[in-house]
Structures are given as C-alpha cells and as structure tokens.
Symmetry: C2
Subunit: 431 residues, 2 copies
C-alpha cells in the first residue's frame, strides 16, 4: 500500500516581460509563471507526480493557494484507489460542493483541480513506464469512457455516442501509433508573431519558421489595424501566397468590430482568426463565424470547461477547437473535449507555449490521433520556443513536427534546479 | 488628500452545516463564509470601505488570498481619483492583464475584484452620507453610463441604448423614490425550502411565510422526484392554489432531465424553475425554457459575468434574471446586468441569503426600480433569515417587503465583534 505523504507547491516566475516575449493585444507584459505542484508518496520507486498551472505573473500566488487547499484532500490518502479509478478521483475533486461554489468549474479553483488531476496522471504514467499519450491510447474504449464526467454534456454527447467514437477508432490504433512514432505530429509556430517585435524581427522569424519546416505561422493582431495590415503584408511576402498564416486577436474585439477587422485583413488570406472576442461569448463567436466565412474561427485556450466547448460546437461557432492542457480540469475534462470535437468533426489544434504547455498538450493530440479522431488531417499543435530547457523531458520539435515523447509521464516535470532558481523571490522571502 | 493606508482581509466562517440551513441538491453541507475586506484611509472622518465575497466554506482562504493580491493595487494610492471616477477604477482593476489570465472575468479572481469595487462604493456612499441605492439613483444618466464597461456587450446593448433607458426613467425618479420609501420592495422567502428540513418543518415554515406577508416562497428540488412531489404537495396544500411557489434545482440536472422533471412537477404550478442545469449552459437553458413553457426559467446567481447574462437574454433562455451582489465584478458590472435586463424587458429578482447578500443586493433592486426599469412589477428580492444579526445595518423585512435602508453605505459592513468572533480558527492559528 502506498500513501501520499506530501503535496509540495512552488510559485515559479520568469521575467519574460523584459523581452516582450508573449506580448499580444490583451497581454502587453506577461511574466510567464507556473503554480507548480508535486505529489510525493512513500513508495520505494521514488516516483512523484508533477504538474503546473500556467499563469502570466501577478496572481500566481493565488493559484498556488488554490492548489494548497487541495492538499488536505490528498495527503495521507492511499494512492492505488485514486490511480486505479481516475474517473472517480476526478469526479470527487470536481464534486466537492464547497470548492465548487468558487467557480463552479471555472477559474482559479477549477485550474487547481486540473493540476491535481494532471499530477496524478503523471504519476500513473510513470508507474506504467509509459508516456501519457501511450498510456491513454492503450486503454479500452470502456475504460476511457469511465474517465469522462458527462454531466451537462448529454444533450450533445451521450456516453453511448462517445463509446461508439472510440470503438470506431480502435482497430486502427496500432497502425497509427507506428505512424506517429515514425512521422510525429504537425506543429505550427507563433514565435514570429508577438506584437512587441519589430518588422525586421518579424520578417526574419518568418523566414526561420519556414526554414525550420513549420507548416503554419501565427501573428498577433488587434491592437492597431494599420499595423496589422503592414505586418501581415510583410509576413505574406516572406512566406509566399500559399503558406498558412493564422491570426490571433486575444479577445480584443467587439463582435461587429471583429467582423469588420477580419474582413479588412481578408486579402492576406488568414488561415484562421483566433480569439476574436470574449471566450465566454458563444453566440458572439457564432455571429463572427457567419460574418467572416470562409475565414475560419478558432478559440478555446480560455474556454473554462467542457460546457463552453459543447456550446461552441452546437452553435457552429468555431471551425478549429483549441484545447489547453491546464485551463480545464485536467486530462479527464480534455478527453471530454476531444470526444466533443470528434462528434462534431471539428479539428483540435491545441494552444501551447507558456510554461510547459507544449510539453503537456502534445500528449492529448497524440492520444487523439491514435484513439479518438484517428486523423492528423488539418490538425497541428502550437509551438513556441520558450523555456523548454527547464523541463526534464523538453518538447522535441524537428522539421516542423512534434516528435512523440517516449519518456514515462505527462510531461510537465520541471528540473529541480530550475524550480529552485526561478522560485519567486517574494514567495521565498515570505516562506 | 486622502490615502488608502490599509487593506484588511478576514477569513470568516459560520458552521451552518450543523443545522442543514442552506442545504440543497448540490450543496448538502455548506458552511456559510465570507472573505471579508476592509479598506482603510488616513482621513479624519474615520470611514472605511467594507465588503465581502460569500463562499460556502472550504476555499474561503483562497478567496481571501485573491483579495490580498489586490492590496498592492490600492494601498498607498490617493482615494479621491478612485472614488471620483468609479468607472475608471473598475476598468483598471478588470483590465489588469496578468490577473485577467486567471479568469478571464470569472471565478475567484473576478469575485475578488468585485469585492474591491464594492468596498470602494461602500466608502463613497458613506462619504456622501447616502445609502448606495440612493447615491446611484441620484446620479445623472450620463454618469451612470460612465460606470459601465460595455466591452463585449455592444452587439446587444450599446451605450446609446443604455443611456436612452436611463433617460426614459429619469422623470419618474423622485416619485418612485417616495413610493419606495413608503412601501418598500417586495421580498420572497426561501426559508421553508431547504432540502434537509423535515416535512413538518416545511409545513410550519410555509404557514409562517404566509403569516409574515411574503408574496412567494421557494423550495429546493432535484435530489429525488418522489420527495419533490411530496414536498410540493405539502407546500401547495398549506399555501393554497394561487400562492406563488418557486422551485430551485441548484444546477442538478441534464437538459432533458430538467424538462422531464419540471413537467412532472407542473401540476403544482411552480412560479419558476431556478438553476435547472449548468449556469454556463446558455443554449441548454434556452432548450429547457422551450421545453417547460409556460413555467418560467430563472438563473443567474452563478452567472460569472455580464457576457453570460447577455447571451441568456439574447437566446431567450430566461424569464427571470437573478443577479448576485458578489459573484460578478461588483456594483459596476451589476449596473450593466440591470441595463441588459431592462433592454430585454426581463424582471430582475436577485439571489440573496448567504452572508450579507440580502444586505447588499437590496441596494441594486431599489436603484433599478427608481432609475433603470422603473417598476417593481413581477420583481422581488430573495430573503433568508440567516446571520443578519452580524451586520451593522441588518436587512429589515416587514410584512414581506424590504424596507429601504437609509444608513449610509453599501450594506455589507459586519460588526467588529462578529468579525472577531467568527474569524476562522485555522486562520487565527496560522496568523
């Protein structure tokens, strides 16, 4: 019998605002940060479960406090019953009625629950000696269904329909796993596109992206239309007429403004418009989708839970669904999100970047390819070349594709020396 | 010149779970709690700004931590520029991009911002020597419009339309203020309806509610259909065939389940069905509204912000809108919510109870009557007779109506002795 004996949290912050990495129309000066979690057991295998919530600076301590409140739910508990039924573990955490009041199922408390779920998956995958994507992709359709909380989904996706999706994909799993190991998963890069970069830097980073083999780039837009036109023109000239260039407004616009602005950029043929308005505005996205077609609408990195994704799909408000590894309640809720996307035939192109998001979310896309949607067609994972050096198993992108990780775990374990070096000074002083 | 010199927070909890007060289908054992805030200045008037976020126990410390993070934005600042332009103060707090990442505009961080906004309003009203409702109801339509953040609203409500609503109500303000002072604002009571109460207690509390002059009662439902039928039958027998009895499922159901369950209760003529499903599910509420008509659908106590209310109204998903004083970003965002309801002609019947919610939200309904919707028709404020004794200006309900408060402030100041007596023990030990 193994017990959870410690639940360690760390407030980690990187001063990225100094270089304007990550700057966009809504987030001019992010300090990429992580509310970090490590679950420690008394097992002799010395394995621990790691995860994090990505934030952009101030408030990272609040996120750490939210993690801390969950420690009491776990420390002292037997590990096996939790890992043996991750569906029940997930539902128990989500279902705590007192904590639920703080959302429900959204924001700081929901992300904290997601981090605990993800840390347990990290531990489970390490115990199994498998990367998370492979662990999931080898579970039976029935066991996968048991992971999903279908509450509030059944008017759109029933457990029976979800099971059918997984069963349909089952026969091809082995072939697709081989294919994935041989050829990886497509990536696109946002590195050229931050608003704070100069035109020269933009142009040279576009050239670099193409030379590196990426199949798409993405540019931040939405602060100033003339600037956007100039920057898109530069990117289009460098990349050529057919290369996919997505644009991302980071929730900057009103609905009518989004439609007008995107149509003004239409001559540059954007591959999609991302986060045109509030992530809560399902009906607004639907209106925008109708107003900018055939340009596609993408969103999801700030979608708070599966109920929002359900509605975005029901309302035909998005053409591309962008899950995030740490915004929702972890792996379990993201499996629900992947199943919803599969039901509606919408491609999932995850949000990544930040701190550890590439490391984490690749597992979900690879699982999706092998065992859910069964395809990489029209799908790719965002890639930003920031901060990977701090991870024990850093993302490997070669010739524009994510190389499938083989190391056991869920990918978010940071190096001990990085955690120590980047622990927030105020937290160190206070602690 | 006055400066903010302190920002005090307190973790206050009441052990209400011991008596099953507040028990419902989703919240079996709430411990009513408050993340309490006091803003202190160096002015000689000795006035301070008080507010709170209501929670139901565990996690109240996370909410307190979120308040704490905002202290740095306020302590040391001049007070006058903040109070003189509460619209700008509100937008600056909401617009902090690093903190916004933790929502955006939802959950723990958003409620913390709301508490700061509300505490500033409390201070402003005390300085003016007016109760908040009167302070707001005497502002010009133009100044009121300046309080509202119209971001993400303009496809539904423009500043011009909102101004028109306020201008239309302006000529009748003085008459309605007199009327309000003379006759109060209608209340309904939820006291009989908690799930944990026995049938006898339910029946005697129904009798008491009618004797006390309330115009409506509300029963919790959703845990067990047979129980609901039995309890509704008892209530209907006691109250008679025409007395309004609302029912509240506290988010318990799937969409199809809600429609079937409510229709099974239709013979008892519920006045409305409240929170039938996830508060995030705009399209689900619209489906339910179509499926249970003519029974009305009500929701809003967990609506995270004005963008959700906007969509509930756009989709014709609700017949009754239930704002909450502390769920959204304070008085300013609730003015947006009132304006949205007025535009769509939907009555606002606020959520109350908890800790201090009656004390706070009555100001918004009274302001709405005097200066926004201009009517009390079909409107009432929830009332629960819990914990009022801890407030400096406790809610006064007489013969089923809220008596308009005349004491200066926004209503959420708790007595110092109550704050000390009910500070959470763990917090005291840790502190």
């Amino acid at each position: 019998m193994t017990r959870i004996v410690a639940f360690e949290t760390t407030d980690i912050r990187f001063p990225t605002s100094l270089s304007l990495d990550g700057s966009d129309a809504m987030n001019p000066d992010p300090d990429y940060s992580a509310a970090y979690l490590r679950i420690v057991t008394d097992a002799e295998d010395d394995l621990s479960g790691h995860s994090l919530v990505f934030t952009i600076g101030r408030g990272n301590d609040v996120q750490v406090a939210a993690l801390g409140v969950l420690a009491a739910r776990l420390v002292g508990r037997e590990l096996e019953p939790l890992l043996d039924d991750m569906g029940a573990a997930n539902r128990a955490l989500i279902g705590d009625s007192q904590l639920r009041w703080l959302g429900p199922e959204k924001g700081v408390m929901h992300m904290a629950i997601g981090a605990v779920v993800n840390a347990l998956w990290d531990l489970k995958a390490k115990q199994a000696g498998l990367p998370l994507w492979q662990l999931l992709a080898r579970m039976s359709p029935e066991d996968l269904i048991g992971l999903v909380d279908f509450r509030y989904l059944t008017n759109s996706l029933t457990p029976e329909e979800a099971l059918e999706i997984l069963r349909t994909a089952e026969p091809g799993r082995a072939d697709r796993e081989r294919e994935l190991l041989a050829t990886g998963y497509p990536a696109y890069t946002t590195s050229p596109g931050w608003l704070g970069y100069s035109d020269d830097k933009l142009a040279s980073l576009c050239r670099e992206a193409i030379a590196d083999g990426f199949g798409q780039i993405k540019l931040k837009v939405g602060a100033d239309l003339e600037d956007d036109i100039r920057r898109l023109r530069i990117a289009r000239e460098v990349c050529g007429p057919d290369f996919p260039i997505a644009i991302d407004a980071n929730q900057r616009w009103e609905v009518a403004e989004a439609i007008a602005w995107v149509n003004a950029l239409a001559p540059f043929q954007p591959a999609w418009i991302e986060e045109p308005t509030s992530p809560d505005d399902v009906l607004g996205h639907a209106e925008i989708a109708r107003g900018v077609a055939p340009i596609r609408v993408a969103t999801g990195e700030h979608a708070q839970n599966r109920v929002i994704f359900k509605q975005l799909l029901q309302a035909r408000a998005i053409d591309v669904m962008q899950i995030d590894a740490v915004r929702v309640a972890g792996v379990n809720e993201n499996i629900a999100n992947l199943l919803l996307a599969a039901k509606y035939g919408i491609p999932v192109c995850p949000h990544a970047g930040g701190v550890g998001l590439c490391e984490a979310v690749q597992h979900l896309s690879m699982f999706d390819f092998v065992a859910v949607s069964g395809t990489r067609e029209g799908r790719m994972i965002e890639y930003v070349d920031h901060l990977h050096e701090h991870f024990v198993v850093p993302t490997e992108v070669r010739e524009g594709v994510y190389v499938a990780p083989l190391a056991p775990g869920a990918g978010m374990e940071m190096k001990a020396e990085s955690r120590i070096a980047h622990e927030w000074e105020a937290a160190r002083v206070a602690g």
